[in-house]
Symmetry: C2
């Protein structure tokens, strides 16, 4: 099977290295890593199992290799290629390019033991960062606005620049938390506010992902033992937590992903908040922060041992508040283990 | 002229707002901004001159609008669309999608007075950040590794989270600087090291971009008055500075971009470092950090008043050192003015 890849994480998965201007071509038993001269030294040191070619025109060089190897059919991922780049790749040759959507993500859906170890460590570091963050927020977070708090979260999650982040952290107060993809605002943290933090870091390129929603009293912890003055918030929080715990306890290898989704959705619906649960239960996590399996109400993917994904039910009341509790789980011996 | 845009900065340029999941469709005198429900409120507040549509399926909604308006021909940028997304857009309808590469970048190549003001301010803030950074590095940078120094650069450039960055800053010591796109390493800053910093911030979404290479003696400044112990480095530095200054003094509106490129390249070649000048002289800067005009040896683009681009010659000796000096210029009354 011949295939060509373009995405950085897809490349890294194949050969242990990537650069922001590179292609990976697999022709039968041979493989080629094609990049430009800026990355020659690193690529030659780090690429495993592929021949490194440096060039000023990646696509032309790949075409030459395909011609020399007399390739007739090559798989590609139509999400990875722009219309312009694919036009250049596919024009003027007699190769059939066969689209295979999510080609690399499909290969990566079951994690190896080595990957599970790294992901577990990433999650541990992520969890530890929340511990440090709660200390910092208790110490000097009150009175700061979401911009400032987000900056502190970035600093601590990255251990002051040592780690990359999985994504820009979300730090949202009260009604800001009602937007699932909240950008910072100028609202300031006051004692007793609802505070949602969704953040993750990368360890050896693998992502962590974690969300906690807390009642930010003096001395608060980013745990799930929270009590809110507002009865409505309290009811919503309890529903989200119950949904979250239910999915973790009851998810099984062999289930369809939509069944796992139902493990959170049914509880939130029964609590009367169904229409405010506006996203799916979770997503796979690995080299990409969002990958397979997707734990949604429409997914027929069969959950299997070795998959790693988030359980992150949420309830969002526009203009009022939002709640989300998220952990990463790995499927081990048929069950979900929290990382 | 009908056209469809997808890129965030392209959208912002058209209507003053963008979201990470949106399309912009111009049909004759009408325009539509199509996004999902998460962005409804913000879009309705901020989009200028276009009707806001929120939907769960952007492409389907756009197709409906195109059908209702009986469009026959729509321009699109083949760089903006993945093969998969374009397939979905263009299948099952009788519209001709005409590729127009760099459609938005071409519209944006000449900056308006308002844009020039913003870019000039962005550059000023960027320059000021280098001032603060030199203080910080002199105070506590020695002994720190490139990870730590990069983190400090990020913190200061972003004014501790207030500004977005144009790109992840490059902070490279000695031989690290020989890689034009260096990633941080564990090498630590010692007195007298060569230190290269390439960094920029965004002001009102417009980018700044600046590089200085210095001899990091105690009390050093990020200016161009540098002296190195090594004669080879000193020779290379002088060639880069002379090339940089030559292009700024001699660039003229009406010149081809490749002529501007030659203003730096000829000097570096004459100094005997031609083969170590592995990139082009510069690139346009605006909403994107890399846009038109590209100042390369192959570019026939005519330089005009209102263009903003970088002059950033460099010399890179693999395993030894790298030097780059970069400023942003705007073409005003036929000449290059440093921003």
């Amino acid at each position: 099977m011949n295939y060509i890849l373009k995405d950085e994480n897809a490349l890294y998965y194949e050969c242990g290295y990537s650069s922001d201007n590179a292609l990976y071509l697999k022709c039968g038993s041979e493989a080629y890593f094609v990049t430009d001269a800026r990355y020659r030294v690193e690529a030659q040191e780090k690429v495993r199992g592929a021949k490194v070619i440096t060039t000023t025109d990646l696509i032309k060089s790949v075409q030459k290799v395909m011609k020399r190897n007399k390739l007739r059919k090559v798989l590609f991922d139509p999400k990875e290629w722009s219309v312009a780049a694919f036009e250049k790749l596919s024009v003027k040759n007699c190769i059939v390019f066969k689209p295979m959507q999510d080609f690399s993500h499909k290969k990566r859906i079951i994690k190896s033991d080595a990957e599970l170890k790294i992901l577990s460590k990433a999650a541990k570091f992520g969890k530890n960062a929340f511990k440090i963050l709660e200390k910092e927020f208790n110490h000097s977070g009150f009175g700061e606005d979401e911009y400032g708090l987000t900056y502190v979260a970035k600093s601590i999650l990255s251990d002051f620049g040592k780690y990359d982040l999985s994504f820009d952290p979300i730090v949202a107060i009260n009604k800001s938390a009602a937007k699932p993809h909240a950008l910072p605002t100028k609202s300031r943290l006051r004692k007793g506010d609802l505070l949602l933090v969704d953040a993750g870091l990368k360890y050896k390129r693998y992502c962590s992902d974690r969300t906690r929603t807390v009642s930010a009293k003096k001395g608060f912890h980013f745990d799930t033992n929270q009590h809110f003055k507002s009865k409505k918030i309290e009811r919503a929080y309890d529903a989200v937590l119950k949904a979250h715990d239910n999915a973790i306890v009851k998810a099984r290898s062999g289930m369809k992903a939509k069944k796992v989704d139902a493990l959170t959705r049914d509880i939130i619906s029964k609590a009367g908040f169904g229409r405010y649960y506006v996203h799916s239960t979770g997503h796979g996590v690995g080299l990409d922060i969002h990958e397979m399996p997707y734990i949604s109400s429409r997914s027929d993917t069969i959950i299997e041992d070795g998959m790693v994904y988030t359980i992150e039910p949420g309830i969002y009341l526009p203009g009022e508040f939002g709640i989300r509790i998220e952990d990463m789980v790995a499927m081990v011996n048929g069950k979900a283990v929290v990382l």
